[in-house]
């Protein structure tokens, strides 16, 4: 049994590789709605949910896993979702994004990751766990769409798949009318595909969806009865550092450690690893954002992965409510910190003193 947690490390490694190469960023997906009015990356995110939904209910029907009915701790979900959504903008990435950017050598993400672990541990296991328990005790007994309506979950799977299919078709059609600019290839064959080529967001999403399905039976086999999750394992890491209790090192902990390994391999092999030191503002924002992510995810019962990507696939109210409130939190922080941003480079060099690099032509 204990040896089985190694599958978490393997799955995490593959997942980390795919996240890094696919530039898959949930914060970006939510943020683009406000900065670019673009739903391209959100559509990719929903592809993951839809693919996973089909797989999870198939596994449930086959008896490989058993999905139990859940309650809906609405107060914690709403407040935590808002706090988490706001914080990921400050941290420059959600939980998963922070793991893979840390492995790309972004020191700002190291700060965000450390403080996310501290926040998650404090609010799930430590002195602030009481607040989480209190806020999450406000709940309704009916916790999912299938419970509320009495309908088969497959009705919702069908609706979700159809809706995501329409969105995918819309984006692919738009794209086919556009010129695509790519970096010139310097590698060939598999090396090009794996460590250079720009992956299409929907392809990346489909791969992540399949990996998210695999996570269920692999995690289940070790006694951890859930799918992908980032915050719980991160809290366990924090608690383990403090206590040394080996029980805390479970499949989920292996999974998130794998994320670091896989994204480091991906970045290194692609020539995209470099230690980058942030400025003062970015450092402070990363620390506050990291703490807020740990806090928000604890109250909401999960981060963008555990809640917005996994609990949505099982049609729980907690999953869908946290998705909506995370997006709202992201929108608010985007308005404050990004749409008001005025770079010093925004005045082109040419108006003051023209910078001519090379003759045009």
């Amino acid at each position: 049994m204990a040896a089985m947690i190694i599958t978490g490390l393997l799955l995490g490694t593959v997942l980390g590789f795919v996240f890094q190469r696919g530039r898959f960023c949930v914060t970006g997906a939510f943020r683009d709605l406000f900065t670019l009015r673009s739903s391209r990356w959100l559509t990719a995110f929903m592809v993951v949910v839809a693919v996973q939904s089909v797989g999870v209910f198939a596994l449930d029907a086959a008896g490989v896993i058993t999905l139990a009915p859940e309650t809906f701790p609405w107060l914690g979900t709403i407040l935590g979702g808002l706090i988490f959504g706001f914080s990921i903008v400050l941290a420059g990435g959600c939980a998963t994004g922070t793991y893979y950017r840390a492995a790309e050598g972004l020191v700002g993400s190291w700060f965000a990751l450390i403080f996310y672990i501290v926040g998650a541990a404090a609010f799930r296991k430590g002195p602030l766990a009481g607040t989480t328990e209190a806020v999450r005790s406000v709940e309704t007994q009916t916790g999912s769409f299938q419970q509320l309506t009495g309908l088969s979950p497959w009705v919702f799977v069908a609706v979700l798949v159809a809706a995501v299919g329409v969105a995918v078709r819309h984006h692919l059609r738009r794209e086919s009318r556009m010129t695509r600019f790519r970096l010139p290839a310097t590698k060939t064959g598999l090396a090009h595909v794996l460590t250079e080529k720009a992956w299409h967001p929907f392809v990346t999403a489909a791969i992540i969806g399949v990996l998210a399905i695999l996570a269920w039976p692999l995690s289940w086999a070790t006694g951890r009865e859930s799918g992908l999750g980032i915050t719980g394992p991160s809290a366990n890491i924090g608690a383990y550092i403090g206590t040394g209790d080996p029980e805390l090192v479970d499949w989920g902990v292996m999974l998130v450690l794998g994320l670091l390994v896989g994204s480091f391999i991906a970045a290194k092999a692609s020539g995209e690893f470099r230690i980058r030191i942030p400025d003062a503002t970015t450092t402070v924002r990363s620390i506050i954002g990291g703490l807020g992510m740990g806090w928000g995810a604890a109250w909401a019962g999960g981060c963008t992965i555990g809640n917005a990507m996994v609990n949505t696939a099982t049609f729980t109210f907690q999953g869908w409510a946290s998705l909506v409130f995370m997006i709202l939190g992201t929108g608010l922080a985007t308005k404050i910190f990004i749409l008001n941003h005025r770079g010093k480079g925004a005045t082109p060099a040419a108006t003051a003193s023209p910078v001519t690099l090379t003759p045009v032509g």
């Binding site: 600019f181 010139p184 470099r274 690099l357």
Partner: protein, 75 residues
Amino acid sequence: MARHLLETDGQVCPFPLVEAKQAMAQIPSGDELVIDFDCTQATDSLPRWAAEDGHEVTEFTKRGAAEWTIVVRKG
């Protein structure tokens, strides 16, 4: 037909894109904006923005480990 330089190295996403849009708004059509950046995600978002907004990417190079330069001609 001038070239303008926008240095965003050290800035995390989405700031290179935010600053590129601001800089682009201030230069005349036909001029080129040279954008240096080192956040990985912008390898997707900058060429995408150029295509969506009707600009042309005239150069796109990887300068070194996690460092890129993209040259966009305003359409």
